[in-house]
Symmetry: C2
Subunit: 348 residues, 2 copies
C-alpha cells in the first residue's frame, strides 16, 4: 500500500520541506509533476505564509504539504547567550563585527493558534510537523479542516508515539537525512539509526503508512526503500540544486564540490542537531557544541557571521544542510528531477 490514495497524489514521493532554501516555487513544481510539493513554514511570518499559500493556490490545483515545527520555545538565558557569544568572539573580531550590534534572530515560532487561523482559510490537504506534533487542541483544528497529518520519527518509540497521537502517516527519518533531526522523545544521538535499520523496524511496529527519508538520492534509492516496505519516500537533498529552489550560491557551490561528501550533525546553527556539509566553523568549534543555546536560540549570534561571510562568497559560517548522499543532486527543473525519480517506483 502506498501513500497515493491517502494523499491524493500520483507518485508516492514527497519533496521534503526545506526552510531557507525553497519557497512556493519548488512546491508548485513538484506537485504539478505528480509528487507532493512542500512549503516549509517554520520561518515564515503570517504575512509571508499567506502570500506563499496564495502563490501555491495560483500555481497548482494539486495537493501540497505545509510544514511546521512544533518544538517548545525555550526561555532565553542571558548567561548561556553570553557564553555562546564569547565562544564566537574570535570570529566577530576576524570578520569585523561588533557583537553589540547583533539583531534579534530569525523567528522560528512553533505551530500555534494564529497559524491554524490562516490554515483554516486555505485548507491545505496535507500538514506535516517536525519535532513531534502540536497540542491535541491544535491538531484537532488541523484535522477538522480535512488535512492529513504527517510527522517524522527518528526512533521506533517516536513512531509509536506519533501513531497513538494521530499521525496519518509517519516519515522514518534515517540518520543519513539532511537538515534537522526530527527527534522529540530523546536528545541522545546514539539512538539515531540509518534508514536501512530504522525503516523496517518502524514498519513492523505501526499500522499507518511509513515514508522513508534519509540517504535516498535517486531512482535506485527509491526502489531500495520500497523494497524495504516503505509506502513512499521523502527526498530533500535531491532537489537542492533544482532551478526552483532558492538555495544560496555558497550552498550550491558546496553541493557541487567534493566537500559535499562529508556532512555532520551540528547544533551550531540552531541549537538542535541538523546535518550539513562540514565547513570551517563546524571543524573549529566541533560540530556539536555544549555552548550552543537551546533551539532556535543559537542562530541569533551566528547569523551575522554567516551574513558577512556569505557577502564575501564564503559558506564557512553557513548552515549548508545536506544529507549524506548528495550524489543525486542535479541542476535541472524540479519537473525533470521528479520525472527521473519516478523510475524508482516502476516495480511498485
Amino acid at each position: 500500500m502506498n501513500i497515493c490514495n491517502l494523499l491524493d497524489i500520483q507518485l508516492p514521493l514527497i519533496q521534503a520541506p526545506m526552510a531557507g532554501v525553497q519557497g512556493s516555487a519548488l512546491a508548485i513544481a513538484v506537485s504539478n509533476a505528480g509528487g507532493l510539493g512542500s512549503l516549509p513554514c517554520a520561518m515564515l511570518t503570517a504575512e509571508t505564509l499567506r502570500s506563499e499559500l496564495d502563490a501555491i493556490r495560483a500555481g497548482t490545483t494539486k495537493p501540497f504539504n505545509v510544514n511546521f515545527f512544533c518544538h517548545t520555545a525555550p526561555a532565553i538565558c542571558s548567561t548561556t547567550e553570553m557564553a555562546w557569544r564569547e565562544t564566537l568572539r574570535p570570529y566577530y573580531k576576524e570578520l569585523g563585527i561588533d557583537p553589540q550590534t547583533i539583531a534579534a534572530g530569525t523567528e522560528r515560532t512553533p505551530f500555534n493558534g494564529r497559524v491554524a487561523d490562516i490554515l483554516e482559510v486555505f485548507r491545505p490537504s496535507v500538514v506535516s510537523f517536525h519535532f513531534g506534533l502540536p497540542t491535541p487542541e491544535l491538531l484537532k483544528r488541523v484535522k477538522d479542516f480535512g488535512a492529513k497529518v504527517l510527522s517524522s520519527a527518528t526512533t521506533v518509540e517516536e513512531a509509536v508515539w506519533l501513531e497513538i497521537h494521530g499521525a496519518d502517516a509517519i516519515i522514518a527519518q534515517g540518520l543519513e537525512a539532511g537538515g534537522h533531526r526530527g527527534m522529540f522523545l530523546t536528545d541522545d544521538l546514539t539512538t539515531q539509526m540509518g534508514t536501512f535499520a530504522l525503516l523496517p523496524q518502524i514498519i513492523s511496529r505501526v499500522q499507518v503508512p511509513v515514508i522513508a527519508a534519509g540517504g535516498i538520492a535517486d531512482a535506485r534509492g527509491i526502489s531500495a526503500a520500497m523494497a524495504l516496505g516503505a509506502s513512499g519516500v521523502q527526498m530533500g537533498t535531491a532537489y537542492l540544486l533544482a532551478h526552483e529552489a532558492t538555495t544560496s550560491s555558497v550552498h550550491r557551490q558546496a553541493l557541487k564540490s567534493s566537500s559535499a561528501t562529508h556532512t555532520a550533525l551540528t547544533n551550531l546553527f540552531s541549537g538542535r542537531p541538523a546535518r550539513g556539509i562540514v565547513n570551517r566553523v563546524m571543524q573549529e568549534l566541533g560540530p556539536m557544541s555544549v555552548k550552543a543555546p537551546a533551539f532556535p536560540l543559537a542562530s541569533t549570534a551566528i547569523a551575522p557571521l554567516r551574513a558577512k561571510a556569505e557577502a564575501a562568497a564564503s559558506g564557512e559560517f553557513s548552515p549548508l544542510w545536506a544529507g549524506q548522499n548528495t550524489s543525486g543532486c542535479v541542476e535541472a527543473s524540479a519537473a525533470e528531477i521528479t520525472r527521473a525519480l519516478s523510475q524508482g517506483f516502476k516495480a511498485y
Copy 2:
C-alpha cells in the same frame, strides 16, 4: 554482476566474521547452505587457527573465508593504562576484583608472516581483512596462493584506496553494522555513513564488486541492497542467535530483549569504535571514552569485569556486539537462516 562467480558460491551472501561469537561451526553451516561462511581469526592462536581450518576442511568442500585484522599494533603506554584502570576502579571495587591481578589481554595480533605460513598450507579461497590491508608483501603471499581478497570500506576514500591496493571486492560497511568499524584512513566518526548513502557512492567510484553491509536484517533488506546496486551482502547480526554460533548466554539474552533496539558505537571494550547493545558500562562511562587505550589495549583492563559480571549472568560489562537492526535475529540453524535470506535474491 554479483559475487557468485568471483567467489565460486551459490548465493551472493557472506556470513560476516564475528570474533568472539563464532568459530568453524557457523562458517561450515553457511558455506554448506550456499553462502560464504567466514572464520574470524583475529583472536586465534596459531594452534587454534590450524585446528579450526582443519575442522572447516573436514566439514565442507565449499569455499569459505578467513578474516584477519590488519591494524598497526600500538606501543603500550603505562600512563594511559594506569589512567584507564583508574577510570574502572569503582567497578573493580564493586565487583571485588584486585586490579593487581589483571592478566595480560587477549591477543589480537595483526595479520603477519606466521599466519601467512599457515594459510599457504590450507589455501582458503577467500581472505578478508578489517582495518585496511596488510603490507604489499603479505598481500602478495595471500594472492599468490590463489585467494580472493576482500576488505571493508567505511568511506568512499577507503573504497578507492582498497581498490588501488588490490582488493578483489569491497565491503561497504554502513554505520548500522555491528562490531568494529573497519575505518582505517580516518578516525573521525562524522565521516561514517548509513548504508543507503555509503553503498551507492562507493559503487559509483570503484570497478570491483561492492558488497553491502550494515542494517540488513532479512530478505527484504537484501532486496533493498541489491536494488541499490550491491553485488552481494554481508550479514552478521542475523546469525547471532544461530544454533551454530557460540554467542554467550548474556549476549543472546540481550539480543532477545528490548534493549537490543538501542546500540551505540563504543571504544570501551577494545579501544576502537565498535557497535554493541548499550549496557551499564557504556551508559556510565559514555560509549566513547578518551580514556580508553589504543586498540586493542583497552580490552585488558575491562576483561576481568566482564568475566566476573558474566559469571553472575550479567552482560553489563560485556561487548554485546550487534547492528542497529536486530529484527532479523532468529533462533534457528544457520542453514534455515540462510534459506530464508536467499528469498531476498529472487529478483536479482
